[in-house]
Structures are given as C-alpha cells and as structure tokens.
C-alpha cells in the first residue's frame, strides 16, 4: 500500500464513523426525549421520567392507530409475499417477451411520488364505488409492500439453482415436496428480508395513506403527525422508542438467522 492508499483508507473510516453518528442521531434523540420529565423537548432533559410511557394508553386513538397500522402492515405483507413470490417466479422462469421491462415496472412503485399514487388511488376507488377506508388502505398498502417483495425475490431467484429441484425429483421426491423441501428453505432468507422491509415501509407510509383515511381509520403516521401539529408532547417519542426496540429485536433475530449481509442484497 502506498501512502495515498493509506490516507484513502483512513478517510473512508472517518466518513463511515461520521455516517453512523449521523444516521443514529435522530434515533438517540427520540429515545432520550421519551424519558424526559419536561413537557417540551429540551436536550438534555432537565430530569428523567417514565410518564410519557404511562400516558401511551390514555392518549385517545393512539392505540387504535397502532393496531390499525400493525394490521395493515401484517396483512399487506403476507398478501404481497404470496402474490409477489409467484410473480417473481413467473417473471424469472417464464418465457414471454418484455420480462426486463416487467421487472423494472414491478419495482417502480418504490420510486413513484407517494402523494401522487395516493391521489390517483383515491380517484380510482371513488370511480369504482369503493368508499370503505379500511379496504382502500389495505389495497393501497399492497402496492407499497409488493415492490419490496418483488425486488428481493427476483434477486434471490436469479441466484437459485433450479436444477436442484430436478435433482430432488430424480431422487424420487414428488414435485410439490421438492418445492417445499428444496426451494422454500433456500428462499427463506429472502422471505424474511422482503417481509421485514415491506412491513416497515407499510408501517411508515404517510403520503399514500393520507388520501385514503377517514375519521375512524387513521394509521399511526397520520395520527402522529396530527399530534405533532396539535399537542406536541413526548408521547410520540415514547411510542417511537417502542417501535425502535421492536425493530431492533426483529433485526437481531434476522441477523442471527439470515445474516445482515444477505438481508441487504
């Protein structure tokens, strides 16, 4: 290594350290604020307290919104995993024209402006006569989760050796058993990763949901922004800290079973 190389390596590490601090700052701030005794956000907090956690249950509508968001995230992720895996298999293995264009199309919702998708869906649902907020939200959230599943599954299937299934069949396994015993375990990390990212994206979505909610069906991000505009107090920080903890646990479990490097492929 020349001196220039060594300088470059040191610079890379400096940037990485800076990036880690930069990325974790909002999380650390959120957790600290959640334990403050003050009703306003001062850093560092004047004193520590758990009162914002105690108030979580009493904040009207917060728990309903959390349940609704978890419900939407879970169902839309499961549905996306089913139809998305099938579609990824079809696009990867099928012989039809335009497969490359289709692969670009199916992940494109990730890059489309959320508000615009929300408006378009609102108008479309009205035309179709669908006025129920819950079903509108569920249908819309599948559009949020499906591209995550497609992206991960397309990448994983590209690396899956399909001759393994033929090998299992040659050894006497029936076709469905071969799929279940050979392909599904091979794709399990992809399911876990895609599921996690899709779930988080659905939980966090604001711009699409805002057009589809009604007074009774408010997702968590919509409720949180509303609180921030009306009565900002550290309850929001408390519920967010809870979500950070949940995500940390989910991440640890996934890292143990899949490995972080496979997760971000």
């Amino acid at each position: 290594m020349t001196r220039t190389d060594r300088v470059a390596v040191v610079l890379c590490w400096l940037f990485a350290a800076l990036v880690v601090v930069y990325l974790l700052t909002p999380l650390v701030v959120t957790v600290i604020v959640s334990f403050t005794s003050s009703t306003v956000y001062t850093l560092p907090p004047p004193d520590w307290s758990l009162k914002w956690y105690e108030r979580l249950g009493r904040k009207s509508g917060l728990m309903d919104s959390l349940v609704l968001s978890l419900n939407l995230a879970f169902l839309s992720t499961v549905i996306a995993l089913i139809i998305g895996t099938a579609a990824a298999l079809g696009v990867q293995k099928g012989r039809f024209p335009g497969r490359e264009a289709i692969a670009t199309f199916v992940v494109s919702p990730l890059m489309m402006p959320g508000l615009v998708v929300g408006v378009a869906l609102l108008q479309f649902f009205r035309e179709m006569g669908l006025r129920d907020a819950y079903w509108s939200l569920l249908l819309a959230h599948i559009i949020i989760t499906l591209p995550y599943v497609m992206r991960t599954l397309l990448a994983s299937l590209q690396q899956f050796d399909f001759s393994l299934i033929d090998a299992a069949r040659t050894l006497g396994m029936p076709y469905p058993t071969a799929i279940l015993r050979v392909m599904v375990p091979n794709l399990a990390p992809a399911f876990l990763t895609a599921g996690l990212f899709a779930f988080l994206a659905s939980m966090d979505n604001y711009p699409i949901s805002i057009f589809l909610t009604d007074a009774r069906n408010k997702t968590l991000p919509i409720r949180m922004l509303q609180y921030l505009e009306e009565t900002p107090d550290p309850t929001i920080a408390a519920i967010s800290s809870g979500l950070i903890l949940m995500a940390l646990i989910a991440l640890m479990v996934s890292a143990r079973t899949v490995g972080l490097n496979r997760m971000i492929q």
Partner: protein, 291 residues
C-alpha cells in the same frame, strides 16, 4: 416436466401454448397494472383535459406562468439534487469502509444502516427539528466551539431540509454502492499497480467504473424519493419553502382544486418516470442485461 404435461392437457383449440409461469406471474402483475398503473395513467390523462373533457394543456400553461410555481419547481429540484449529492458524498467512502470491515464493526455499521428504517420519517424529521433548533445541540456546539458567536437560525432553512432529508435517504445510497464495492476483486487494484498505474489512475479508471451500477441505482432511488418528499419538508421548513409535493397536498386537501392538483401530480409523476426509465437504461448499459 410439468410444463409439458400441462400443455398436453390444454384444450386442443388453444393455438398457442400458455406458459404456466405466465399464470403464476398473472395475479401480481395484474394487481399492479390495475391498482397502480391504471390509476396513475388516468390521473395523467386528467391533467391534459379541461373542464369540458377536451384535450388541453391549459393547466400546464397556467402553472408555469406563475413565477411562484416556477420558483417552487426550481427549489424542489435544487433541494432534491443537493440532498442526493450529500448522500453520495457520504455514502461512497462509507461503502468502501463497510466492504473492508469485518465481524462486529461491519455488523454495527449495517445495523446503523437498517435500524433507522424502522423509525418513521415523521419521528426522524421531528428529531432533526429538535436538534437544529436555535437552542438545540448543533447550535450549542457551534457556539461552544467558537464557530459562531450566537445561535444561528438552522431550522426553517434549506440547509436544514437537506441535512434532514439526506439523513433519511442515506441508507438507500450506501446499500446499493456497498453491494457492488464488495464484489470488486481487490487484486484488480494490485494488478493495475503492478502495471504502473498510480493511485489516482487506479481509483478513477479501475474502481469508479466498477462501482457505477451501484452509484446509478442509489442516485436514481434517492433522487426520486427526495423530489417527492412531503413529510420532511412540512416538518422541517413548513410553508415557508414549499415544494411540489406540498403544493399537491395543499391543492387537494385544502383548496379542493383537482385541476391544479392533477397538473402538479402529473409533473412529479413524469419526473419520476423519467428517472426510472433513465436509470434502468443506464444500468443496462453499464452492467449488461439483467433478469
């Protein structure tokens, strides 16, 4: 093979053989076609119609003839571009550090990339508004270090918006670049050195071209997120520096002006489509055909 048996069982009147994999792909693709592509296409069409339903670009002419709208469009582009640039500058060296890291350090950096995705954009933007306040920690640090004499206004500025949004989008830049960096064979650089290439030549002519697919993917993704962000600017800069997304929200949710809303929506949509198509063309050029 099951494909062959299924084809054999297909009714004889079917002239062409339906690939069973098409049927497998159908539900997901139809879902996106009907509930994603079709509504967007209808919205796009709507922006080209006047009140009587005739073709017209009056909405666009009206939008672009207002200097305020032009200023908003320009600001949206500028903020998105600077936010993307900041992400790229921070992410590029980080991806190399991540590729060199091993064991605990690598896991730690990766967790720092993935964990922030679990915190909603709202909470992150709000945390930045606390950090950047005039009595916030950034200002205290600046005063303490003697960089400024008294707290400066950070919140409600474009700088704050760029810092806050780059923070949210940064993982989406690091991860695709890291994915290509770690596949670069370290002996390539050594080989170039053996052949007499200096460090700068090696970096710009050997390493950078190899990382281009990751850079293109990251830049396209982050730019498309940044140009259409809504929650971050509304919490960090408020109405003072409106972006196109905020105009859309305002025209639909407050003014109930669907004509104006659909025009701005169409503009954002066309930008996003251009980014998707442009990046996928570029990617294909740089890494050969995929899929």
């Amino acid at each position: 093979m099951s494909a062959a048996t299924e084809a054999a069982q297909a009714p004889p009147e079917m002239r062409w053989r339906v690939d069973p994999f098409v049927l497998l792909a159908a539900p997901g693709l139809l879902y996106l076609a009907i509930l994603f592509a079709l509504p967007l296409a209808l919205l796009l069409l709507q922006s080209f119609r006047d009140a009587d339903g005739h073709f017209s670009i009056a909405g666009y002419i009206e939008f672009f003839s207002d200097p305020i709208n032009l200023a908003v469009t320009w600001r949206t582009f500028r903020v998105a571009a600077l936010s993307t640039l900041l992400c790229l500058v921070l992410a590029y060296p980080t991806a190399f550090a991540l590729a060199r890291a091993r064991g605990f350090v690598q896991s730690f950096i990766l967790v720092a990339m993935i964990l922030p995705l679990s915190v909603g954009v709202i909470v992150k933007a709000f945390s930045w508004s606390i950090v950047l306040r005039s009595d916030g920690i950034v200002n205290s640090a600046l005063v303490f270090l003697g960089i400024v004499d008294q707290p400066i206004r950070l919140l409600f500025t474009e700088t704050a918006l760029i810092v806050g949004s780059a923070n949210v989008f940064l993982p989406f830049m690091v991860l695709p670049i890291y994915a290509v960096v770690r596949q670069i064979d370290p002996s390539l650089s050594a080989a170039a050195a053996t052949l007499g290439a200096g460090p700068f030549f090696r970096f710009f002519r050997v390493i950078v071209p190899l990382t281009l697919p990751g850079v293109i993917a990251g830049v396209a993704f982050v730019f498309s997120l940044a140009i259409s962000m809504y929650v971050i600017p509304s919490l960090i800069v408020g109405e003072r520096h409106a972006t196109l997304s905020m105009l859309i929200a305002r025209s639909y949710l407050f003014f109930r002006d669907a004509q104006l809303g659909s025009t701005i929506s169409a503009i954002l949509l066309l930008i996003a489509i251009a980014v998707v198509l442009g990046s996928s063309l570029l990617l294909r050029r740089f890494e050969g055909t995929r899929v």
